[in-house]
Symmetry: C2
Subunit: 394 residues, 2 copies
């Protein structure tokens, strides 16, 4: 990594859920939340804006969203503004773009914000929009939207390694339990015992309702600044220390293995290499649990356990606070809901708050130094990873 060092210095989120607000109102709401959360941030200090949004054209009949979000948040970008799209990883893409811009001297203070409004009056329209994410010509016609695709992945993992529904439920129970400490989570203050999870309706076998993240409305924003400005905003900056991405295939016919996420291994290796650390150095990780089976395979691809051992890793509580690695303390996509563009931003916000020591004790990692954030997109064909280190201000 070249150029200036870049720090994550704060952020805010709207409540995630089924919200009676428009896409535009969510942008306004997160702007107000951001300035409330960071009284030291002045609008005129923000020179750049990066908007992560997956499908406003479909969900809100609105494109050219970057200037709209700027106006709604009370910002007037004078260096860079753009929207980044990478489906479910759109939020992290916005952060990566902000990082590169600051490192390269194009921006000093940037806001990365994710906005998504997925619950529409006509949910058939919203579900149809999700059909845009996979290959609409080759895969869509065969019914390959997210739940059936990840159900196929889960079936294959069960066949190859004997992974069980109970192990899937262990992931769901953990992340929903963490969400009980997060007032912005869609499933805040809801109980999901494992036996209850195993009785929920089947969405696509073997995945039940509790195995799937939700179509969610929400927005989240974080602030990134150049190294010499970090101290102005926080005593506990999260330094961006590593980044990795890998695009493996697009058309499902070109996928190698359904259960060996080669792209994630590449992205993790690149991110850890640039940060000069190893998996064992991590204190917490936000992994993209769009479905329970995803988190299980991600344990394996991150190198926390061997191939096929992810189910047991979950059931043994090794992804819990106090286990091998605290995974998805925020509540994950399963507990928080998954407003596509906002998810990656919300994960980074959890990292910042964990570093600052401001999350509720029930999910606070003790003195964390290193954090990894992972997003997949599409049919797990693209993987995006960032690594942060807690700093003391410089």
């Amino acid at each position: 990594m070249i150029g200036r060092r870049v720090a994550l210095v704060g952020g805010a989120s709207t409540p995630f859920g089924v919200r009676p607000t428009t896409w535009t109102e969510l942008a306004q709401e997160v702007g107000a939340a951001l300035f409330r959360a960071m009284p030291e941030l002045r609008a005129e200090d923000v020179d750049s804006l990066f908007v992560g949004a997956a499908e406003p054209e479909r969900f809100a009949f609105q494109s050219h969203v970057a200037p709209l979000v700027a106006e709604q948040m009370g910002l007037q970008p004078r260096r860079i503004l753009q929207r980044t799209e990478l489906a479910c990883a759109s939020g992290q893409s916005a952060i990566r773009s902000a990082y590169a811009a600051i490192a390269a001297g194009l921006s000093d203070v940037a806001v990365a914000v994710g906005v998504e409004k997925m619950n529409l009056p006509d949910m058939a329209e919203a579900n149809s929009a999700m059909g845009c994410v996979l290959d609409r010509a080759w895969d869509g016609p065969h019914g390959a939207t997210a739940p059936p695709f990840f159900a196929m992945v889960a079936q294959r993992h069960m066949l190859e390694y004997g992974t069980t529904e109970e192990q899937l439920a262990a992931v769901s129970e953990k992340n929903h339990r963490f969400a009980n400490s997060n007032p912005n989570a869609q499933f805040y203050a809801k109980t999901f015992a494992r036996d209850k999870l195993l009785r929920l309706p089947v969405v696509a076998p073997p995945l039940r309702l509790g195995d799937c993240s939700s179509m969610t409305d929400g927005a989240a924003a974080v602030v990134l600044v150049a190294e010499d400005l970090a101290r102005k905003y926080t005593a506990t900056p999260g330094w961006v220390r590593g980044t990795g991405q890998y695009s493996d295939f697009h058309n499902l016919a070109n996928a190698g293995s359904l259960t060996d996420w080669v792209g994630m291994k590449h992205a993790v290796r690149e991110a850890l290499r640039s940060a000069k650390i190893e998996t064992a150095d991590l204190d917490l990780a936000e992994l993209h649990d769009c479905f329970t089976i995803s988190e299980i395979i991600e344990y394996e691809a991150l190198g926390l356990c061997g191939p096929g051992e992810g189910g047991r890793f979950a059931a043994d509580g090794r992804g819990e606070l106090g286990g091998d690695l605290a995974v998805n303390t925020r509540g994950g996509l399963l507990g928080c809901g998954h407003p596509l563009g906002a998810t990656g931003i919300s994960q980074a916000l959890e990292v910042y708050q964990q570093f600052a020591g401001t999350v509720p004790p029930v999910r606070q990692v003790s003195s964390p130094e290193w954090a990894l954030v992972h997003n997949l997109s599409g049919s797990a064909n693209v993987h995006s990873v960032m690594v942060y280190q807690r700093g003391q201000g410089s």
Copy 2:
């Protein structure tokens, strides 16, 4: 500007026009064209991909386009991939992102590609999609899509400064004439004399058909590399020397003046400041002539003439080759058509080819050193500018 220097080292374009191809096929076609144009480029050297696309969700019912384009072009990005969206400036946004990524050491060899497919079997659907670009809640319901908005701008410029239809036609005639030397232009080998232009049907008064850029299908790609690699690909790199962007407003009710493009002045100033040059140093400029009135106002905002003098500047031929500054030698959006995401890439390609001295003599600027590329987006509320300098390989 900090970090590594970044060079534009080549590129290619599909023919622009009404194409009997799909969105995906355009991506494949530009990939083939790129590797034909740059035999020294190996697919495995390309570590990152930046896709500029405005509305694939609407025009092609396809999101998550970055991995799709990668696959179609035969690329496997292992450092960064993303799509950038900034409506009509989506292509330049992809280039700016590639620049920042390379400068910051996240990429060594990046492809920035723009793809747009706007001609659909049902053109009502395509026209409706264009309604996404302005504010769909506040401006769309009042009919403010691009042609009526820029017609309003033209009327106001006529009222304030006495600009005439003949002056508008001078811009159109110039750019269509340049397009006659560009086989990839939509209006290649078509003649548009000024008196003919003034008899074309009115789209939105005072704008006639020849005053408006088209809904166009097309794709273009350029390659950007880190400083130490430039020599490997070309003897005439175009060094990225300046960048500027400004977001002025979104909702039309918040616009200050229709004819004084403050945002462009800001973006130009920032880009020239970072390049340490002045307008008078420029040898060529690609200005965003989505409508003839745009180019006229852009002459003024770029500082080529005073406020209100743009119409006369055009009529006097001062934007011609051999005039004050050669503007839109490629043929502009008017002559080439305007496939939203591809336009900004195609403009950068013209800069590269002008630097390389490989365009037809009729439009070749003599020994150009400095070039500026400008895009506006939406209701001219956002302006994006980049400055390139011709180099000798290092």
